[in-house]
């Protein structure tokens, strides 16, 4: 149950470098008047970042393009997308994703 000195150092450093990007824009930008074009840009960030994360998870493995290497992810994504579209339920979507992956891994 011990905490080693160099691990503590890395945790402290990592907590600072993850803290700053999280809080700085919120603290600064919420005090400023943001121009209309910047608001339009920020308005697109949620869809853009979620799509980029989905693309990264589905199409890249270890940061490189690998469509054929692990096609189970693409296959599992199909029912997951459908359930999200049809039910609009976040929990249902996550459960569908896990079960699809579980079944695919059993088959393959």
């Amino acid at each position: 149950m011990e905490i080693r000195w160099h691990i503590l150092l890395i945790i402290a450093g990592a907590s600072i470098v993850t803290f700053i990007p999280r809080v700085l824009p919120l603290m600064v930008l919420s005090r400023m008047k943001i121009p209309a074009w910047a608001m339009q840009w920020l308005n697109n960030v949620p869809v853009a970042v979620m799509a980029a994360l989905v693309g990264q998870e589905l199409l890249l493995s270890d940061g490189t393009f690998s469509l054929l290497e692990d096609s189970t992810k693409i296959l599992a994504a199909i029912p997951t997308f459908l359930v999200a579209l049809l039910t609009r339920s976040l929990l249902g979507t996550v459960v569908t994703g896990i079960f699809s992956m579980l079944l695919l891994r059993m088959v393959y």
């Binding site: 149950m1 150092l9 890395i10 945790i11 402290a12 450093g13 990592a14 907590s15 470098v17 993850t18 803290f19 990007p21 999280r22 809080v23 700085l24 824009p25 919120l26 603290m27 600064v28 930008l29 919420s30 005090r31 074009w37 339009q40 840009w41 308005n43 697109n44 960030v45 949620p46 869809v47 853009a48 970042v49 979620m50 799509a51 980029a52 994360l53 989905v54 693309g55 990264q56 998870e57 199409l59 890249l60 940061g63 490189t64 393009f65 992810k73 599992a76 994504a77 997951t80 999200a84 579209l85 609009r88 976040l90 979507t93 996550v94 569908t96 994703g97 896990i98 992956m101 579980l102």
Partner: protein, 242 residues
């Protein structure tokens, strides 16, 4: 004494909003549990003690960062290299934090700091989803959402650290896909609620194309940042054309 009932009412209302935030966090619990569990297992495998894994979750609270931490410790990475890598991987939080800032204009810098310190991809997604249904993002609601997710994460990584000795491969249970499914759900719900479907799909598709394109020249996390910036810009330009 006439103000008392009103005060009571207000207190009750704000408690309701806090509880609603916790309730709205429920769909993320499953994906957090599985990813947090996996992060705990990986930390255990890398030789980190339970106390170290717990401290990591309390202070860093970022899934990708904690996986990298464990991976680089196992590979004997230097202190500076690990901190720098974690910094780069979590830079996308700048974008999330900026996109959230218009909703918290009336809050003090301290409250904005507290909200930002617990910001994650998932809580950001849930908050934006909430906003896209034309519901206001209240401060109490946001704290409820954030704190529920935070505690769940700490518990999940601890469970992974404790039971990690017996479960070496969480992938066998399909749990690794929970995070992807979460992102898919947040993306679809976001687009469905915003009622600007054609434009949003164009932004989403360009983000996917650019994240793959950027992955050829840079790391995965830098690719996500580059793709987000480019796709958001494309969306902005499309709006100007209209």
């Amino acid at each position: 004494m006439q103000t008392t009932p009103q005060l009571k009412h207000e207190a009750q209302e704000s408690a309701d909003r806090f509880l609603q935030g916790i309730k709205d966090c429920v769909p993320t619990l499953l994906s957090y549990l599985s990813i947090g569990f996996a992060a705990g297992v990986v930390g255990n495998t890398a030789g980190l003690s339970i106390a170290e894994i717990a401290l990591m979750s309390v202070l860093i609270y970022a899934g990708s960062a904690q996986f990298i931490f464990a991976g680089m410790i196992a590979a004997d990475g230097s202190v500076a290299a690990i901190i720098l890598t974690i910094f780069i991987v979590n830079l996308r939080h700048l974008l999330l934090s900026a996109a959230l800032s218009p909703y918290f204009r009336r809050l003090s810098p301290l409250k904005n700091m507290l909200i930002g310190s617990l910001l994650t991809d998932e809580t950001f997604g849930v908050a934006m989803n909430h906003a896209s249904q034309k519901k206001p993002i209240g401060e109490k609601w946001m704290f409820g959402l954030n704190i529920a997710a935070y505690l769940n994460w700490i518990i999940a990584t601890l469970l992974g650290a404790i039971f990690g000795q017996w479960i070496t491969n969480p992938e066998n249970f399909g749990l690794d896909f929970a995070l992807t499914a979460m992102f898919i759900g947040l993306l679809v719900l976001q687009i469905a609620n915003r009622k600007r479907i054609a434009k949003d799909i164009a932004v989403a598709l360009s983000a996917v194309v650019f994240v793959v394109g950027a992955s050829f020249v840079t790391s995965g996390s830098a690719a996500v940042i580059a793709a987000t910036v480019i796709a958001a810009t494309i969306g902005m330009v499309m709006e100007k054309w209209k």
